[in-house]
């Protein structure tokens, strides 16, 4: 039995559907949530999924569905902020180092590579130790943690096109360095940057949930999928839905964004064998 690479097209469809569901959930959360996600109701603690609480309630009687919906908003906001921070800063640095070469490149890349020598999540942990926990410091820590990888990838892409004729032509035409960088280099390396954005978004979602799970991320009572999982641990035996729901949210988001990224890559760079 031979498949004609069906998973590639299937990937894209599943990815789009999952990302769509995530965005829809966040949008609906702005207008309507079944309950107030941080309202404590001690009469209905740890209630099973039912008509009143579709996904059950937690140890303080808070509605799990409402918390997961607010968690989607919080986790996605953090991930988007950190991703765009890392991509914009990283792409600018990558273009500058890759295009200028010479000493600027050597010095920046030496610093960059030694930051890369620390695993991303470890660097984020170290930075949070310094910045203290809280939404703003997670965004900053994750931006810095994933910045070096972005610089590396973008620099590589820039170096592969900087010797092309159209860049040469721009120089000969007397365009300024900045003008060439933003009008000729940037548009031509956009496809890899777009694909990279989806990967970074996935890493950041995972790292944020891990940090929150460890207790150094989003501070309670605000829900994030990670801290929901962490507070669900003691009730695992009697209230398994508490650990299943937030984990499933993270997994489906990651699956969606990974598939979406794969599909984008196939679309933007058909030469590459997936």
């Amino acid at each position: 039995m031979r498949f004609t690479r069906p998973h590639l097209r299937l990937n894209g469809i599943i990815g789009c559907i999952l990302v769509g569901i995530l965005l829809l959930t966040i949008a609906v959360g702005y207008v309507w949530m079944p309950y107030n996600p941080i309202a404590i109701d001690l009469d209905h603690t740890l209630s099973h999924p039912s008509a009143a609480h579709w996904l059950g309630s937690d140890e303080f009687g808070r509605d799990v569905l409402s918390r997961a919906m607010l968690g989607a908003r919080i986790s996605t906001t953090i991930a988007l902020e950190a991703t765009f921070g890392a991509i914009i800063l990283g792409a600018s640095l990558g273009i500058v180092t890759g295009f200028l070469r010479g000493w600027t490149d050597r010095c920046l890349m030496m610093i960059n590579d030694s930051i890369l020598a620390l695993p991303g999540i470890l660097l984020a942990l170290g930075l949070i130790a310094v910045l203290g926990s809280g939404q703003a410091s997670i965004v900053l820590a994750l931006t810095i943690a994933y910045l070096p990888s972005v610089v590396r990838v973008v620099r590589g892409a820039v170096m592969s096109i900087r010797e092309r004729e159209y860049i040469e032509a721009s120089r000969v035409a007397g365009d300024g360095t900045l003008y060439t960088m933003f009008h000729h280099v940037l548009p031509n390396i956009l496809p890899p940057i777009v694909v990279l954005t989806t990967s970074v978004f996935g890493w950041v979602v995972l790292s944020e949930s891990a940090l929150s799970f460890l207790g150094v991320g989003v501070p309670p009572p605000a829900p994030s999928w990670g801290n929901m999982l962490s507070s669900a641990r003691p009730y695992m035996e009697n209230a398994s839905w508490l650990s299943i729901v937030p984990g499933l949210c993270i997994a489906l988001t990651l699956l969606g964004i990974n598939f979406f990224g794969d599909a984008l890559r196939d679309l933007l760079d058909p030469r590459r064998d997936a």
Binding site: F3, H7, M110, S114, L122, P246
Partner: protein, 314 residues
Amino acid sequence: MVQYVAKRLLLTLPTLLLVSLIVFSIIRLVPGDPAQVLLGEDADKASVAQLRQEMGLNRPLIVQYLHWLGHSVRGDLGNSISTGEPVSGMIVQRFQLSAVVALTAVFLATSIAICAGLIAAWKRDTGVDFAVVGAASLVLALPSFWLGLLLMLVFGLKFGWLPVVGYVPFSEDAVQWALFLILPVLTLTIIESGVLTRMMRSSSLDVLKMEYITHARAKGLSEMRVLTRHVFPNAFAPTLTLVGLTLGQLLGGIAVIETVFTLPGLGRLMVDGILARDYPVVQGCLLFTGLAYVVINLIVDLCYPLFDPRVTAN
């Protein structure tokens, strides 16, 4: 070969120095006075000033850095604020457990990835390939701590086959020790095999297109021999780099698994240090893990020529 090794070793030194500089700077960014932090909020000014003097905080930053680096090189990472124990001793003790878990998991994940990746590439575009790629993609999307919790729920609580939380030192009861480590190792093995399998599959696909593979087949070699003797060594080299990176990332990220299974490992030491604002411990863990990461990548690079002799040629 000697030249390659020497060059690679030399390149490691500046990286290590920069890593130490980054770790030093991160901790120096802590808002407030380290002496005040050590003594607590309500310490009087005189004792803070005295401690500043003792800690050398009045000296220029570069002198402080060199002083700290000198001590770190000799294995003195200072004492923990909360327990007063030497940080280096705590790290060495905690690291043994983390290393056992991480190394076993990465070894198992690599073995799975080699088999699954090779077979998927060999059976490209068939049901087998589809299943392997699908499973690897699914695994890639699983957060390790969630998978850990689910495995615990199934094997620990529902079936009651394995102990759920806690830890028994190897010296007390080797069998119990191993039983406690099965679930954490299994979790990490599943998680890490995803990315490694994808890498192995794509590099095997590249190698299978090569002319020497056609040649090997034309010589009449069995498919088994073609795969094991000709495809595997060449396809494994890029995967090996990823194995090193994975192992290093794991040392940084193992804290989550240690939290799920309440194992007293290195990752948990660092997170507890952060929560307790025990900066010598955090600094020591950061430096040690950074060092381990650099050393792992060094070892991987030194092993590289074993699989791909072309590396030493340039």
